[in-house]
Amino acid sequence: MEWMITADQPGKTYLMQGNEAVCRGALEAGIRFAAAYPGSPSSEILTMLGHVAENMELYAEWSTNETCALQACLGASFAKVRSLCVMKQNGLMVVGDALHSASLSGVKGGTVLVVADDPSAHSSTNEFDSRHQARSAALPMLEPANMQEAKDMVKWGFELSEQLQQLVMVRSVTRISHGRSSVTLGELPALKQPPAAIGEWDRLVAINWFKDAQTAKIDQARAIFEDSPFNSYKGPENPDLIIVTCGSGWLYSMEAVEVLNLQDSVGILKIGTTWPLPENFITRYLARTNKVLVVEEVDPFLEQNVANLIAYHPELKIELMGRHGQKVLPRNGELNPDVVRNALAQLTGAIYKGPETVIVPPEEAVILPPRELTFCAGCPHRASFFLLKQTLRIQEGQGVVMGDIGCYTMGGQRAGHYLFNFLCCMGAGISAAEGLGQLTRFGFDQPVIALAGDSTFFHTCMPALVNAKFHDSNMLFVILDNSATAMTGFQPHPGIGLTAMGKSAQPVSIQKVVEAIGCPVTVADPFNIAGTTEIVYELLKQPGLKVLILKQECATLAVRKRQKARVWVEPDLCRGDECGCGRFCSRVWGCPGNIWDYEAGKAKIDEVVCVGCGVCATLCPAGAIKMEGGEACE
């Protein structure tokens, strides 16, 4: 919350989300620049910094993609301004070249890159482990184990960055970014540094000449980390086993030792500086035992770096366990207190006795309907997917649909009638469609459709569209323009005309961009199901590259702005199961607002859920769904 991250109350303790703690740490460090691209679980950070930017005398932007964000931070850093860059794990992959290059040039003003990983991919298509990138790019990395550390590490990261003249990475995970716990505030700086002039002979250049300097920086970081307060040991002098842990694994490990009563035989070595490892610090403790369990999120990154370290120290005689080879912890997926406790119990022979429970046998248990992900009530994507599916059913040839990343990724599931044949990463739908569309020359005659959202269009689709246009691929590119980066919490993007700091700006029109590239473009309303189905049908018959913008605002945003219409089912007009529509509104259309009244045997509207878009009223074959009042969707 904005008031909390800016509160001038040093010493006061608040319940803070990990992402709030990151903001607070950056503000305590006196940042003047912040740039990010939204992605769960990192998105709240720049949203909040944008809201407080003016008051706190900093600049914050939602950049069009992660590479733009990181490079913008480098620009600000050149003028010795402290800059914060934020992204999720996928974003870090987008940034690969920029990251490795920035590490060669180094930075001037402190620059911290916060990457939030998503173990078990709760809100992602994968659970990439960002930490490999820090090692690959020779960047120092910190991993907070709780919210207090998220604040403290970000703050200290700026000092470290300036000391080393190097970018510093802070790796968070969902349980930190989207967790909450107590954080005690530090002081906010009274004065903010003005930008420094850049002289004629000042340079920030990424070229291999600086490889030795880059290596020297990472060695220096290792030496600094040897004495870091973020690394600590708790346990007996000569333990039977040491748990080496980082990030959210730390508190799970503490709890496991407590629950299993192993305080006298198991020690916990917590590492906050996970790249480069403080080798002397770790070796000192490893010499006290011959069994080590590594507890960390996602890949065996710490584990294999510890294995490396052991390989260089023949005096250590250690049986190393963790996620590699699945000896005790699962190879993939998020950790939790049960997994860690069970692993420790297995290794030590300790017995865990849980609370008394009753398990109802499966044959007596209530059958629970699964709660699948679906589009929100009134979501324009539901209409878009319905009409695209309908068109593909009536036109000739089996259409191939290439999906992309956003709320509409759900279109690959039941909510979107399983429309996608292809899904990869952001911007991949149109690029892959371009390739497929080139095969017409060899007789491939299936219609090819690529889908992407408006924010994704700016993020990575623009170069792909130029490519498709220049090489005249046979394909239809459909832009699902809902005027929001909806999935991550409605962040604005260049098409909307609103900045992260809440200022109006001249929007960049997607339609004009497409036209400027030289593509014929049609704009249609997905809520006009019949009319737009006809448009798609006609477009698919034309050769070459076609672009269709399906424009309708995200329902969750729209409902906040408009007077909601009342939608209801006229019981006398609904013919129920006699109709022959097969309960179209609730079964096929599938909006959570359209429910079935089993007692009456008729359709019904759930007034709590319905947002009043009224599209179902246009589709009911009996005309039984009525709509009254409210403002029309534009």
């Binding site: 303790t13 809100s123 503490m254 109802v360 909006c591 079935w596």
Partner: protein, 205 residues
């Protein structure tokens, strides 16, 4: 004499469906506990779904130390839920023979039920199983009561009233109301105060 922490750590789960205000409710409750000086951790699980998916918040309260944000299986002391099938889903994983369950009875139909492929079970069946696997089950018609009071969206605050009234929670109504005053103003604050009280009274009955 103010109320004491009944168990350390005290593990509370607040769950329901995306859009029901689950995360805000957990945040307000945990903030009230931090203000009282307790180590409080909150873990939120909401996945990719903005609306309509299962959402669950874990709150862990201790007088002595910080705990990780996730509650171990079978170790929830209290489960407060805004949706009956999600109550049972969560209770199967997290309840034990002493768990207190408070649930709204209003269904939020998943896609499979809307489509007609799955059947939504009766509240009687759900309650019956909940009673077997937990210590106690209390049904509060939070959404309906909140709707009658002015806005169904306030059901989350109503159930926080019921949670606050439990003797296991080391906070009083005033402690939670201060959090409401910190976060809301005007009509929204008035409505939230009203439904909080309603929920509190439901539990006292």
């Amino acid at each position: 004499m103010s109320k004491q922490l009944a168990k350390d750590p005290l593990n509370i789960i607040i769950c329901g469906v995306g859009g029901q205000g689950n995360i805000l409710a957990a945040e307000l409750m945990a903030s009230a506990l931090v203000e009282k000086g307790y180590f409080t951790s909150v873990g939120e699980t909401y996945g990719a779904s903005q609306r309509g998916g299962s959402v669950m918040s874990h709150i862990r309260v201790s007088a002595s130390t910080e705990y990780g944000v996730l509650i171990p299986l079978r170790q929830a002391d209290i489960i407060v839920s805004f949706e009956p099938t999600d109550t049972l889903r969560v209770a199967r994983d997290y309840a034990n023979q002493t768990t207190i369950v408070i649930t709204d009875s209003r269904p939020n139909y998943p896609l499979g039920v809307l489509i007609g492929e799955a059947v939504y079970p009766s509240m009687e069946k759900i309650t019956e199983e909940l009673q077997k696997i937990s210590g106690s089950v209390q049904i509060i018609e939070a959404t309906r009561l909140a709707m009658d009071a002015g806005n169904s969206q306030a059901a989350n605050i109503l159930l926080m009233g019921s949670l606050t009234a439990l003797p296991q929670l080391p906070i009083d109504a005033d402690d939670f109301e201060r959090m409401l005053e910190q976060r809301f103003f005007g009509q929204t604050l008035e409505l939230n105060r009203k439904v909080f009280k309603l929920g509190y009274e439901q539990e006292e009955k």
